[in-house]
């Protein structure tokens, strides 16, 4: 908890809901405090000075004051409104996916995590800028798992500990990593993972974003194979998230519905 009655918070609005007569309750991810909830008084009035600054996806500097049990937003100024995320439904969907994952994995009062905050901002920028969000979203997922302590084991078999050989493998949600074909024979609930898909996942885990984005030309050069790899990693990661969160995510279904 902050020592001061009022403090500045560099925040991203994760979600909002209506509250009382004309107020809005915000769920924020802040650089200073991690996840917090704050009340924006009068934000649903047409003449509100805050309303436009506190829409979801917006990167905004807020002045938060300690209220009786919630923070109260006293000032708001947009840093980046990510307007490009709003003119394109699929991008809106992916941005919402990024926010939903963070919202589901974090808790209030668990404290700040500046690297996670930076990852969030960078990922929103990438989804806004790039024509295809696949790379930005997969990279975000991998890094998010790292920061939260769920980094999947992709280099050694999660069962026998031997090094993974260049061949098709299994992936286990419960063991949180790759299982080699020899161990995988007798184990239940495994998911196949192709050599190619594993290569990309490893690449995202080890490399900077700039290096990771060099991998994409390979995907584009062999369009058909590239698409099946994209699909495979997407399905696998979503399965893993559903397992970790013990609940289905909302946004993948939405993205599927609006994708042309």
């Amino acid at each position: 908890m902050p020592k001061f009655r009022s403090f500045r918070a560099d925040s991203v609005v994760l979600r909002h809901s209506d509250w009382g007569e004309a107020d809005r309750l915000l769920t924020l991810y802040t650089r200073e405090q991690g996840k917090v909830r704050a009340l924006a008084k009068g934000a649903r009035k047409v003449t509100s000075r805050k309303a436009g600054h506190i829409e979801p996806f917006t990167h905004v500097t807020l002045q938060l004051a300690k209220g009786r049990d919630l923070f109260i937003v006293t000032q708001a100024e947009t840093v980046n409104a990510f307007l490009g995320l709003r003119d394109d439904l699929v991008k809106t969907g992916y941005a919402a996916y990024i926010l939903e994952l963070l919202d589901r994995f974090t808790y209030e009062e668990e404290g700040p995590n500046p690297s996670l905050f930076r990852l969030l901002i960078e990922s929103l920028e990438r989804v806004e800028k790039e024509s295809d969000a696949w790379l930005a979203v997969r990279y975000y997922e991998m890094r998010l798992l790292d920061f939260l302590g769920f980094r999947p084991q992709l280099f050694e078999c999660a069962n026998c500990g031997r090094e993974i050989l260049p061949e098709d493998q299994f992936f286990s949600f419960t063991a949180g990593g790759v299982i080699c074909p020899r161990c995988g024979q007798g184990l239940p609930n495994l998911h196949l993972i192709s050599l190619e898909a594993l290569k990309y996942m490893r690449h995202f885990q080890r490399s900077s974003y700039r290096d990771a984005s060099r991998a994409r030309p390979i995907l584009e050069a062999r369009a058909e194979q590239g698409q099946s790899i994209q699909k495979e990693t997407e399905v696998l990661m979503q399965g893993y998230f559903t397992y970790l969160l013990e609940r289905e995510l909302n946004t993948p279904g939405f993205i599927k519905r609006v994708k042309p």
């Binding site: 309303a51 436009g52 979801p56 939903e100 279904g253 939405f254 993205i255």
Partner: protein, 201 residues
């Protein structure tokens, strides 16, 4: 149990309403207990009729009286059937009607797309709108969803769905509100206010 069963059950029922906590609920319950007979009587009749006497208009999905196929607006011969204004909630119809400046018909979506809450196109009355437009009578669709991320997403989706029918699709203008303040306006609003500026005449 300190309170008689009938008071306690009223308190419990009132507590389930939004914005009413246990204290407010007991205050209301005791007010009704002390107030004259007809206050409670009127309230109970109104509550009983609320669900029984309302239904959705089969054309625009606004709320109307039970037993009616279509609402007052849809039935009125004075209304222009070539223009349809798409809104999120029935209350938005009320707001537009209060202005007295709109002569077309409505379509109530009964919600808004929200990727984060998992509300997709199938949860709204979108198919019904597309069917109305496909009938051919409609020339213009005015998208009057709220100017929020969810409202914009809904408008965007509707635009893609309606494109193939060749109707004129418009969106309510966005700009600076009456009594507003330029200094506090956000980029999105200011940009749109600039691009939608109008000749003074």
């Amino acid at each position: 149990m300190l309170l008689p069963e009938s008071i306690q059950s009223l308190i419990t029922a009132l507590e389930r309403l939004p914005g009413i906590g246990p204290k407010s609920a007991s205050r209301l319950a005791f007010y009704l207990l002390r107030a004259s007979e007809d206050v409670a009587q009127d309230l109970s009749v109104a509550l009983a009729n609320l669900k029984a006497n309302t239904a959705f208009c089969q054309e625009c999905f606004n709320i109307t009286e039970a037993g009616r196929e279509r609402c007052e607006v849809c039935e009125s011969p004075k209304r222009d059937g070539a223009v349809v204004c798409v809104v999120e909630e029935a209350l938005d119809v009320l707001a537009l009607e209060r202005t007295g400046g709109y002569q077309g018909k409505y379509h109530v979506l009964q919600g808004v797309l929200s990727p984060i809450e998992g509300i997709g196109p199938d949860d709204l009355k979108i198919k019904e709108l597309v069917a109305r437009v496909a009938n051919g009578e409609i020339k213009e669709v005015i998208l009057a969803t709220n100017p929020s991320m969810e409202g914009d997403a809904t408008a965007l989706y509707l635009q893609t769905q309606l494109k193939q029918y060749g109707v004129h699709v418009t969106r309510l203008a966005r700009g600076l509100p009456m009594g507003g303040d330029l200094e506090y306006a956000d980029q999105n609003t200011l940009l749109r206010a600039l691009s939608g500026r109008q000749e003074m005449s």
